[in-house]
């Protein structure tokens, strides 16, 4: 068994299985949550629930990131707020606008798009890795967070950290032969994809549901029973 074989396995069958588990697992989670049901809303309202949800999304994307200091969550712990924000921004930039990742999307979807120059993505990657380290330290020293962190939370950090660091090392051709670090990166990514549906990282999808429900609540302008 050579590294080229391991790489072929990680890019081939293992990736396919990870993708199946990811898609099937997310469908499972979504159906479970939808089947929990929600109470009928019979209160007469003056506002629009749809507009409320929409406004909540728009504010979250276009307003709050630019004036974070008006939010309590920022003022309570600005370092964590910034680290968390930059972490998510970095992930988006790297996964969507990094050339290597765009080529993955292209192979899956059949179409590609323009990407950012490597140095920009590279700096974003460095910032994102720094951010996850800060978030890790915060979880380690924050008395309340420490109490409510189970193994799942620590594994979340580990499984996200591994693909990021291996990807960074690979992009810079450091220390390892390319096929070795490429294999490590792909294995880490596959593990993450299998892990996501059954962990809180599934918030990448459920976040939009909860945001919509909260937004609708804000928007409906009615007396809560």
């Amino acid at each position: 068994m050579f590294w080229t074989d391991i790489l072929a396995f990680a890019r081939g069958p293992f990736f396919r299985v990870a993708l199946w588990v990811f898609v099937g697992g997310m469908a499972y989670r979504l159906v479970r949550i939808i089947f929990l049901g929600w109470p009928a809303d019979k209160v007469p309202r003056r506002g629009s629930k749809l507009w409320g949800a929409l406004k909540s999304f728009l504010k979250g994307i276009l307003v709050w990131p630019f004036i974070p200091w008006v939010k309590n969550t920022f003022n309570c712990n600005p370092v964590v707020y910034l680290a968390g924000g930059l972490f998510h921004l970095g992930l988006f930039v790297i996964l969507i606008l990094g050339t290597a990742h765009m080529l993955v999307w292209k192979s899956l979807l059949g179409f590609g798009w323009k990407t950012l120059p490597f140095p920009i993505v590279d700096w974003m990657a460095a910032i994102t890795i720094a951010a996850i380290v800060i978030l890790f330290i915060n979880r380690l020293i924050h008395p309340v967070l420490k109490l409510i962190s189970g193994p799942g939370e620590w594994l979340n950090l580990l499984f996200v950290f591994l693909p990021m660091v291996s990807g960074y090392v690979m992009a810079h051709h450091l220390w390892f032969r390319y096929e070795v670090i490429f294999s490590i990166h792909m294995i880490a990514v596959n593990i993450l994809m299998i892990w996501i549906p059954f962990s809180r990282i599934s918030h990448f999808m459920f976040y939009f549901f909860s945001k919509a429900i909260h937004g609708a609540d804000f928007g409906k302008r009615a007396v809560e029973p």
Binding site: R11, W20, F35, F118, P119, Y178
Partner: protein, 376 residues
């Protein structure tokens, strides 16, 4: 041939002493010998020649050693490696292989054919038993008793085993002989394998490539001739001298990779300006070969220089290593929509089942509680 050294043979063929020394210098260069003081950096082959000029070392060997008999077998191949060798732009090295080394048997190059050629091979194998170098070109199909490739009524597997038994060393040239190559590509109907998978009791050197770089082949032979041993090999039995670096490491488009400038399509402005071919599917970063440094056509160019991405032809299973023109980061194959849909449906069905079971359980619990309350 007995007794006569290579130098004596060359003299008979009209070589002057000066020509011979020049030839020796070329050979020394081809196998990467360094003129080394004891503190000199090691050459890539790991050999440091102390106190002797490399050309002198080669000339000493060629003046004292007889010609090296070679038996060249072709199995499931396209003859491309032989073609590349005969068209090599380094005439001295081709001379070395074709004239100074005796090719006793070569299916494409020998004048004799049929039983005559077979007889010549058998005679050579007997005469030089334990001394000859066996070169194999093409893969071996052991499936179904080896019926998919036979020569003179014998299967390629038995021919290889027969010839390998008396060989001093075996050189597998081209990806087919080294790793199974194109015949081994999915679905591999003939069960093709490389020499390494069949012969385990003899030293096998792989010179993969499609075709193998002629200089890599002749360099390895020259090394064997001069030192009487095979050059240092990597984990895939490739000489480190030629396969020690990736194409990417020596690529002339590398600075553009570092700067993140990629050609978007074949022969676009970027490709012409020398930008990296990563997005066009270049396999340079995981391909170990000497194309970027030795190049082809007498150092004229190599695929990437000409604007075509590296296919990774010196690596195992290169034919099944993902689309040639798909970025290397892409997964090997695109999962079918049907299987993705099936995964989605399976997840949804299991989710609905578990949710339904939960609802039923909740309802029955509630009913029980209510009847309990009523009863109490």
């Amino acid at each position: 041939m007995a007794g006569k050294s290579i130098y004596e043979e060359m003299k008979e063929n009209g070589f002057t002493r000066r020509g011979f020394i020049k030839f020796c210098s070329a050979v020394a260069g081809a196998i990467g010998l360094n003129l080394g003081s004891p503190t000199a950096a090691k050459s890539e082959s790991g050999k440091v020649v102390r106190g002797l000029h490399p050309a002198n070392l080669v000339s000493r060997a060629l003046s004292s050693k007889p010609r090296l008999p070679v038996i060249w077998l072709e199995f499931q191949d396209c003859c491309g490696c032989s073609e590349a060798l005969t068209r090599s732009q380094s005439p001295t090295l081709v001379d070395l292989v074709l004239s100074q080394i005796t090719v006793e048997y070569h299916e494409t190059l020998s004048a004799a054919a049929g039983f005559q050629a077979e007889d010549a091979k058998t005679a050579a194998m007997k005469k030089y038993a334990g001394q000859y170098v066996l070169v194999v070109e093409g893969s071996i199909p052991p499936k179904d008793g080896g019926v998919y490739c036979t020569i003179g009524g014998k299967s390629s597997l038995s021919l290889l085993k027969e010839a390998a038994a008396g060989a001093a060393a075996i050189i597998a040239t081209g990806n087919c002989a080294a790793f199974g190559g194109i015949p081994k590509a999915k679905p591999n109907p003939t069960g093709a394998v490389g020499v390494m998978d069949v012969i385990r009791d003899k030293p096998v050197v792989n010179i993969p490539g499609c075709p193998a770089i002629p200089e890599a082949f002749t360099g390895t032979v020259a090394h064997f001739l001069v030192f009487g041993s095979l050059p240092e090999l990597d984990h895939l039995h490739r000489p480190k001298l030629f396969y020690g670096n990736t194409i990417h490491d020596r690529c002339l488009r590398r600075p553009f990779y570092e700067a993140g400038k990629y050609a978007a399509s074949f022969d676009d402005e970027g490709a012409r300006a020398g930008w990296c071919l990563n997005k066009l599917g270049c396999k340079g970063p995981i391909t170990y070969n000497a194309c970027a440094s030795l190049k082809w056509g007498g150092g004229l160019s190599f695929p990437i220089q000409s604007g075509h991405p590296c296919l990774g032809c010196s690596e195992p299973n290169f034919w099944d290593g993902g689309g040639f023109y798909q970025g290397q980061s892409a997964p090997l194959d695109r999962p079918a929509l049907l299987t993705m849909g099936a995964a989605l449906a399976a997840g949804a069905v299991i989710g609905a089942g578990v949710a339904g079971a939960n609802t039923v359980q909740k309802k029955s619990a509630r009913r029980k509680q209510e009847s309990k309350n009523k009863g109490g």
